[in-house]
């Protein structure tokens, strides 16, 4: 993984000391809140319902054991012993004290971590496929390009005060695990007919109150043009993006109002000016960054096949976990392990300090010291020998981290919702917990198969409800919570925005409503291989409306 050079170290340390000075001046009264707020936001510090919140960046979701231990230390020393992994592959702490935050950031800097650009109208943490560098279906590792974008976008003077925040995602495989089509810019790494590496470029996707699927404006952008072309997009957006209305300020609105074709033309005009400037990436620079992400040397471990078969035979729970949470690696003797942060009845994405340290221990001992955070709020060990799966599983069981539900109905994405978030209108976590308990029996989950439920506590859609196979949006109606259900959303290579199915449900009725939807699917699917999303796309919303509301009139009410 990437290692800081002297410049990076000095830069992050300087920023910590700068923030320490700003906090000191705020606490002494020298700085008023209006002046301080943008400064704290630039350092990832929000004010939530109960306390401040610190959002720490985990670039493209990649970290090592030492960094994970530091996240545990921050949770223990500066918070209440836990953290919340987010859909942007970051981590949030819910209870830090303002006067201690400079120390927390100084501690993070010792392991090359920070909270810069985790807020504000700038280019945010660049996200990537959580199986990067390990997936069998990958054309190339997307992380070197995400790192190049990170370096280029860090405190970029031209792009630090954009009309609105800006999110970029990169995937290196045909199967999109990074949800690139609901990002401001989505980059799909591919090879052209001559075997050159480049990108299909998507622009103007996003969720929030106006969900939109990104438009492809370039079929193939050679890798050396990554920064010049991205700069061209940013310039068009910075110039023409709306600043008069916060809700219309994202690039998706510009793309929508301008038209993708015309926007692409404007980008090409800028790009022509920038193409052969200092922004052109030299081959040796790409190679140097790529070298940081070289995969570990994976020795043949063929003995794992026989051991695995024996272990699975001896322990049905282990077999279930392997079946659900271990994916094929590009090396046949290895696998990619998903550590579920979705215990049955638990809080999606939360991990305690002890759990974080357990993951660090396991990663260091068995997984080449590499950990990922997925945008689905789980942790990943990308390189694990099949021969080591059993001891890893035992370690995860001891830490309460061995829930065998990756990709199943209880692998729910949920934003913090009204339990923490100052923007929320309704709670998300308790809804996720109740659904998890309702569907938590292993046999039932297995019968239902792949089904992604995503829950947001407000229209900002941090819980990605628009792209949930079943999406739940919490709203406030007459002072009470109400949950609107959408069906048929998807955040993969066939991205779709879910359709609102009818009137919303009260908190005490929403779990029953989801069960009706699931039962309807089970009744109407062709066979168990037809997953919920495929069945919905085949049969449409009407059978679900009929099951939920009895007749069309009620659904429209």
């Amino acid at each position: 993984m990437y290692r800081y050079d002297e410049f990076d170290h000095a830069f992050v340390s300087d920023r910590v000391e700068q923030f320490r000075d700003q906090v000191g001046r705020r606490l002494s009264g020298e700085l008023a809140e209006d002046a301080f707020k943008p400064l704290r936001l630039m350092n990832g510090v929000y004010l939530q319902l109960h306390a401040y919140m610190l959002r720490v960046a985990i670039p493209y979701g990649t970290l090592n054991g030492r960094q994970m231990r530091m996240l545990a230390h921050i949770a223990r020393k500066y918070d209440r012993g836990y953290g919340h992994f987010t859909t942007r592959q970051n981590i949030q702490y819910n209870w830090p004290k303002l006067n201690e935050l400079p120390d927390a950031l100084a501690d993070l800097a010792t392991v090359e971590m920070h909270a810069l650009q985790t807020s504000g109208n700038c280019i945010r943490n660049v996200t990537a496929d959580h199986f990067a560098g390990a997936a069998a279906d990958e054309v190339a590792d997307p992380r070197p390009y995400a790192e190049i974008l990170r370096q280029w976008s860090s405190v970029h003077p031209e792009f630090s005060f954009l009309p609105r925040k800006f999110k970029i995602a990169v995937t290196g495989a045909e199967r999109d695990r990074a949800a690139i089509q609901v990002h401001d810019i989505g980059l799909h790494l591919k090879k052209d007919d001559d075997g050159r590496i480049g990108f299909a470029v998507y622009v103007g996707g996003g969720q929030g109150r106006t969900p939109m699927i990104a438009k492809k404006i370039r079929d193939f952008l050679p890798e050396e043009d990554l920064l010049s072309y991205t700069t061209a997009i940013m310039r068009v957006y910075n110039l023409h993006g709306r600043r008069d209305n916060k809700y219309k300020a994202r690039i998706k609105i510009l793309v929508h109002e301008t038209g993708a074709e015309e926007l692409a033309r404007q980008v090409e005009v800028e790009f022509a000016e920038l193409k052969n400037t200092e922004l052109k990436l030299p081959e040796k620079d790409i190679a140097a960054i790529t070298a940081y992400f070289a995969p570990p040397e994976l020795a043949p471990r063929a003995e794992g096949w026989a051991s695995l078969a024996q272990w699975k035979k001896a322990d049905a729970e282990f077999a279930r976990w392997v079946q659900q949470n271990v994916q094929p690696h590009k090396h046949p003797d290895y696998g990619m392990v998903t550590i579920s942060l979705k215990p049955i009845g638990g809080i999606p994405g939360d991990a305690t300090d002890v759990q974080m340290e357990a993951v660090a221990d396991i990663a260091e001992e068995y997984a080449f010291d590499e950990i990922r955070v997925s945008h689905e709020q789980n942790l990943i060990l990308p390189h694990v020998a099949l021969a080591d799966l059993e001891p890893i599983y035992r370690g995860l069981v001891a830490a309460g981290l061995a829930t065998a539900n990756a990709g199943l109905i209880t692998d729910i994405i949920a934003c913090p919702g009204l339990d923490y978030c100052a923007l929320a209108n309704a709670r998300s976590i308790p809804v996720a917990q109740e659904l998890s308990l309702r569907f938590g029996a292993p046999e039932r989950q297995a019968e239902i198969g792949e089904l992604k439920i995503k829950i947001s506590g407000c229209i900002n859609a941090c819980g990605h409800h628009h792209v949930g196979h079943i999406g739940l949006l919490g709203v406030e109606k007459k002072g009470e919570e109400l949950y609107q259900i959408t069906l048929g959303g998807s955040g993969d290579e066939n991205t779709s925005i879910g359709e609102i199915i009818g009137r919303g449900f009260e908190p005490e009725k929403v779990t029953d409503a989801v069960e009706v939807i699931v039962d309807t699917y089970l009744r109407l699917r062709l066979d168990p291989s037809e997953i919920f999303l495929d069945a919905y796309r085949r049969i449409g919303p009407q059978p679900f409306k009929d099951a939920l509301y009895g007749d069309k009139t009620a659904a429209a009410a």
């Binding site: 809140e33 306390a51 004290k97 303002l98 638990g346 009204l418 002072g479």
Partner: protein, 105 residues
């Protein structure tokens, strides 16, 4: 007019607080001074403005409450959760919050 209390978040640690009858910022909603007429609400708003200017608290708001059997209850769920903390039931074996939560003030 609904009864009203003055709430904010403490500058130094962000913890939710309510203005009590002694004019101090208290971590308990139940200790809050309740304004029941316009003049009292005006006084609350003026106090809030001053406290913000004095850099003691941030995000100062007057919120509606009702008193039921001597217990104050904010009308909006958002404010009830601010007063009572997250409503989350932690899963069995999850000791993160309970093990290290700050004792109630």
């Amino acid at each position: 007019m609904a009864d009203k209390v003055l709430t904010a978040n403490r500058l130094s640690d962000g913890i939710s607080v309510w203005l009590d009858a002694a004019g101090t910022w208290n971590e308990q909603l139940q200790a809050a001074f309740v304004a029941r007429h316009k003049e009292a609400v005006d006084a609350l708003e003026a106090t809030g403005k001053q406290a913000l200017a004095d850099n003691k608290v941030v995000d100062v708001n007057v919120v509606d409450v009702e008193e039921v059997d001597g217990v104050l209850r904010p009308l909006r769920m958002r404010e009830r959760i601010r007063a009572e903390g997250p409503t989350i039931v932690y899963a069995a074996g999850y000791s993160g919050l309970t093990a290290t939560a700050a004792p109630a003030a």
